[in-house]
């Protein structure tokens, strides 16, 4: 059964958001990493890039496929997690914690409310 932490918000496309004041951290869920299995490559956006909610801004590649990561919220990228670039397997082993992708300064805090609650995400993945 996939881990669905209760302090996160979720996008339908399996990204999670951890909000901290006016910034947030983004990663992919345990369910997503289990679907992809062996992640071999992570491509992250540049610090300073401005993204819109729903915009493709990162890529994870497994042995078989490349998957786009869509930013759950709009804002400016303020940090990226180079640990996942150096060790892509981190996304498989710690998707909700150490396997985070980027931190973003929110430009529209109201977008957070539009994301799925843990209960609704669990329903979506059949949990």
């Amino acid at each position: 059964m996939s881990n669905v932490p209760s302090d996160l918000k979720y996008a339908k496309s399996h990204e999670w958001l951890r909000v901290s004041g006016d910034t947030a951290t983004v990663g992919i869920t345990d369910h997503a990493q289990a679907e992809l299995t062996d992640i071999v490559f992570v491509e992250l956006p540049a610090v300073g890039r401005k993204v819109k909610a729903g915009e493709a801004c990162a890529v994870v590649e497994s042995v078989k496929t490349a998957s786009d990561i869509y930013s759950p919220v709009s804002g400016e990228i303020i940090a990226v997690n180079s640990a996942t670039v150096d060790s892509p397997a981190l996304v498989n082993t710690a998707p909700d914690t150490d396997g985070w992708f980027y931190k973003i300064k929110l430009s529209n805090a109201a977008e957070v409310a539009a994301l799925l609650s843990p209960e609704n995400y669990k329903k979506q993945i059949g949990g």
Binding site: T37, D38, V40, F41, E43, V59, E61, S62, V63, K64, A66
Partner: protein, 374 residues
Amino acid sequence: MLKRTSLYTAHQKLGGKLIEFGGWEMPVQYTSITDEHLAVRNAAGIFDISHMGEVTVSGAGAEAFLNFVLTNDIRKLASGEGQYTLMCNERGGVIDDLYAYRPSVGVYFLIINASRIEADVAWLQAQAAKFSGELKLTDASHHYGAVAVQGPRVKEFINLVIPGSSSSVFKVNAVTDLKKNQIAGFNFENHSLFVSRTGYTGEDGFEILGSEESIQHLWDKMISVGQPFGLKPAGLGARDTLRTEVCYPLYGHELDENTTPIEAGLGFFVALDKGEFNGRAVLAEQKANGVTKKLVAFKMTDKSAPPRPHYAIWSNGVPVGEVVSGTQSPSLGIGIGIGYVPAEFAKADTKIEIEIRGNRCAAVVVKKPIFQKA
């Protein structure tokens, strides 16, 4: 409605992730492609290959017929032997790559790609209609299930699963007495199996054909007997990474009806001196005068996303070719691939670039196979 092999329930029980392949519902992986790949390289893996096709050819004209429709010299086969070969059209383009076996005098057994069963059978029947010798050609694909058991430890346990000496005309005392490319019949729980020492992974191993019922029992017994030796079920994902590492062609990628065996670097399996056969004129000309496009293997030289089929190959700032197979190599931990380039870029150590999602990433042409055990 996708076709299912007789092992479908077994795949579900083992947690196989099922995908569509060539009209069949097959497991791409059970745990992870990397795990399954490394199990085959280090211990053993078992693959369901029941979707592949089988054609039997017999009659007084069988040898002459097959030597006309296939590129390799079938007269070289002793009883109990098989050979890799190709079937070409009149332009030398590949209709399929396959294995041809001669279980006994006058009887031939062709193992063909799942995605090409219809095309191959139609072609063979059309060719047979023009042939004047005595010939019996049967598409036996629906009669047989099949598994492949591959890896350095397979020889430690396969005799326990299929005990005893062969029951066929070609005699060996045990399965492990089969030499590479040899095939024999064995009794297994009141069924008959064909066992050949062949494979598609670059490791030692066996491919086993039998009735659907016998293959179901064989799979279960192999899994339980092989487990203490490290045997794992392996899916199509690992099958693809394993064969790419050793540069074995996959029809539809390295080979198609517009590509010749010479362009694909398979001239060794084209016996120009055996007499007339389909495509001979074109292949002879290519062997004599060279080819314009050539198949090369390459390795990424910097950390990058994996190369994949259809990505462009660049040289000196110009796109020159295309990737046909590519992946992250589980054994080497780097991106690897195979692609077609003009002949002048085909030498080992040639620097090339692979265009990966808009970025040109450094790579180098390497000799085949890309991966070789020490």
